[in-house]
């Protein structure tokens, strides 16, 4: 080779340039996002760093999934949906074989929430929670037809009151839904059409704006305000959100200071009143204004409660609105201790209004002056109530136990008759509440009045 100055200069410069380019190109490759997330996780949890590509191979698909390389520390969603069996992709969709966020999240069903009602059939259906021979297991169908999803009664009542329809029979739901597997109740509807968002009737336009788009049903995302944070679809109840909407788990990809996230990546059936109150007890309807008036004793309109306030005091203020009337047990217990699975998730029929569906009253557990509460002995055929008990760690149920049976045939596995004593075990706290039936007590009720407003006349808790 030549040894001229020009050549040697060029040669060394060329090699140096090549080295520089190589070095810079390599730098660009070195710290992908997934490594940064893992570093963050190990720092946060104080564990020795072990940065590596992580995979799970769920039994359902047999194919590797790399999601946990970034989402390291995310809790298993529930013990009945174990990660080793289900993995991530069977519920969430997405691309499991890449470590780049935008590629991985292509095809994610429902964004962060695969239980959103638009995608719930693919995520949770597929022969698991839909289309099974046991109707009480087909939650995908029941919930989509339930009032919290269809809002049929609200839509019909307001439109009727303002003259947009000639009777109070529901024609519209939030989305179109049909009941094609048989109507079992007296007033079940066969279908609802989707609410006409393109209608030029000012009543419909105002209703859509003030009520539908404002978050009053399961398909609508929550208002981004304290006490309102929740998911849509099944997760609206079964994935707990804090009143502040902050994430409290260990997944490094979810910021801890950004409101609008679940508290933790977990299903629960022990749903506390705070979760129901992300929609309910937030204010009052004004029919005249066709609007919803937020309660002003709590955020967003009112001042936040002090952190020093004891839990009992907090519960007393937060639970019901200032105008609310309630008995001691309605305050001490959580909503699901009284309200049944069918009331919340529907019974498979499309019902026209809340009055049809919400049937739990005081007499369900306490009976009347003439009759003791209806009791049934649990047998192996009562799979629904046994399954509900198995999913809730706060109370136990065994074949042979005697439990309350509601007027619609639902068994309340947490309300038992043990050795002559009625005991309710809270589904949320596990605390036991022994109680007495009306019959044989000093109650002076008029037997023909069994609505709770009547019982409140004597038994209202004085705040």
């Amino acid at each position: 080779m030549l040894t001229s100055t020009k050549y040697i200069f060029g040669f060394v410069a060329g090699v140096a340039l090549l080295w520089g380019a190589w070095f810079l190109a390599v730098q660009q490759n070195q710290t992908p996002m997934w490594k940064q997330y893992q570093q963050q996780y190990f720092q946060q949890t104080g564990q020795p760093a072990d940065i590596a590509v992580r995979q799970i191979v769920p039994q359902m698909t047999g194919k590797p999934e790399l999601c946990v390389s970034c989402h390291i520390g995310l809790q298993e969603i529930s013990s009945s949906h174990p990660v080793e069996v289900f993995g991530c992709v069977s519920c969430h969709g997405g691309n499991p074989l890449t470590l780049e966020a935008d590629q991985a999240h292509i095809g994610l069903r429902g964004g962060k929430n695969p239980s959103d009602l638009t995608v719930v059939a693919q995520s949770c259906g597929q022969g698991c929670h839909s289309g099974t021979p046991d109707p009480s297991k087909n939650h995908v169908e029941s919930v989509r037809r339930s009032l919290q999803a269809t809002y049929a009664g609200g839509i019909a009542a307001v439109r009727f009151a303002f003259g947009a329809q000639s009777d109070a029979l529901p024609q519209y739901g939030v989305f179109a839904v049909t009941d094609n597997d048989g109507i079992t109740t007296a007033h079940g509807l066969s279908k609802l059409d989707a609410f006409p968002h393109t209608s030029d009737n000012p009543i419909d336009i105002k209703f859509a704006k003030n009520c539908l788009d404002a978050g009053c049903h399961l398909s609508e995302p929550a208002r981004a305000e304290p006490y309102f944070y929740r998911a849509t679809g099944c997760a609206a109840c079964h994935v707990l959100y804090g009143n502040d909407g902050l994430y409290q788990g260990d997944d490094p990809t979810i910021p801890h200071d950004e409101p609008g996230h679940m508290q933790s990546h977990q299903f629960t059936t022990a749903i506390p009143y705070t979760q129901c109150n992300h929609c309910h007890n937030r204010g009052n309807y004004s029919l005249r204004q066709m609007d919803f008036l937020l309660r002003d004793d709590l955020p967003p309109l009112g001042a936040p409660l002090s952190d020093q306030m004891p839990d009992e005091g907090r519960r007393l203020i937060e639970y019901y609105q200032p105008i609310g009337e309630f008995t001691l047990c309605e305050w001490e217990l959580d909503c699901i201790d009284c309200h049944t699975a069918q009331e919340a998730m529907g019974d498979g029929d499309i019902h026209p209004n809340q009055q049809e569906m919400q049937y739990t009253q005081c007499q369900t557990c306490h009976g009347t002056l003439e009759t003791l509460p209806n009791i049934s002995t649990v047998t192996t055929a009562d799979t629904t109530v046994l399954r509900q008990a198995a999913l809730n760690p706060n109370y136990q149920l065994h074949v042979g136990d005697q439990v309350i049976k509601t007027s619609r045939g639902e068994l309340l596995g947490h309300v038992k008759l043990i050795d002559g004593q009625y005991i309710l075990t809270s589904k949320v706290s596990g605390v036991q509440y022994p109680f007495n039936p009306v019959k044989g007590s000093g109650c002076q009720q008029d037997g023909s009045r069994q609505d709770s407003a009547y019982c409140h006349q004597c038994h209202t808790y004085q705040r």
């Binding site: 040669f11 380019a21 190109a25 730098q27 890449t98």
Partner: protein
Amino acid sequence: MKRTLQRQIKNIQLWRSNKSFIYNLHPPRIPASGARFTYTFGLGGLAILSTIVAVITGAYLMFYYVPTLDEAHASVAFINSVVSWGALVRSLHYWSAQAMVVTTVLHLARVVYTGGYRPPRDFNWLIGVGLLLLVLLWNFTGFTLRWDEESIWALLVGTNLLKVIPNIGNQLYVWVVGDTTLGGAAILRFYAWHVFGLTIPALVGIAYHIWRIRVDGGISHPVASTKASRATVTRETLLSRELLTTLFALAVLLLLAGYIVPPLGSPADLSASGTAEIKAPWFFLSIQELLRYLPPLWAGWILPLGGLVLLALIPFFDSKGGGRGIWFASERWKVQVVFTLIFAAIIILTAIAWWR
């Protein structure tokens, strides 16, 4: 004894200058006028360098890419983010491929403007035009292997263009696509073309093209008239220039590959309506633009192929006279003007399509 052993050891050094392969591909002396950097800008050599980098990085990618409908896109995403150095290898492959097209086209322009197509180099010119076509097809087939939103439309339009050819169109479509519609057969076929079907003729063509240069008397250069213009350089000089150019070119490729990452859209879905802007790969943008105004047979076949045929026939139109080896020689003005007009038209069409 010791000295002979040392000498023997030195003799087996692979880089001993008068025994190496690349060294001997070059003639011992080259006319200085032909070896100047500003004469050829080393474009032909850069095209070969780009091809070598593309073939090597392509071979690496073959260890992970899966040419099936279900896994094509996923395997590219896998290479991009999971395989060690996968992103860099893919990026190098992409950039060397684009460099290949650019240097090939510029090399072609250089040959036109310096009259390097004149006999006896007319046959080599034809081979070169064929190589241009192969390079464009190489790039196009590689582009579609991504199987993402962007490339699926290009593949759809490109293959549907086959159908507009009268009489043989539909048969040709099935032959190319491997089925009556785009699907797994198309990926597999395009993969086979990209990896082997086009590579074999391209490698053979390149080898012939290089060999033919020596047979025809080396790089075409001005006819020597004075003693100064008869000056020559040794192959050492030429090789050192080539080595330096290689080093700088590789550095540029690495920087491009490191900093500008080739895109990867969401998996191909022909039922979706696609993104707002569906663009052909950049080297076919001029054809995409033409397809907006002219009937498909004209925009997709007659004009482009006609252009190629005109290119191929250049030595026919200008086979003798002066001006060989001189940039923009006025003796060859007709060919240069026609070429410039067509080249400019293609660039303008490309620019319009790019900035829509």
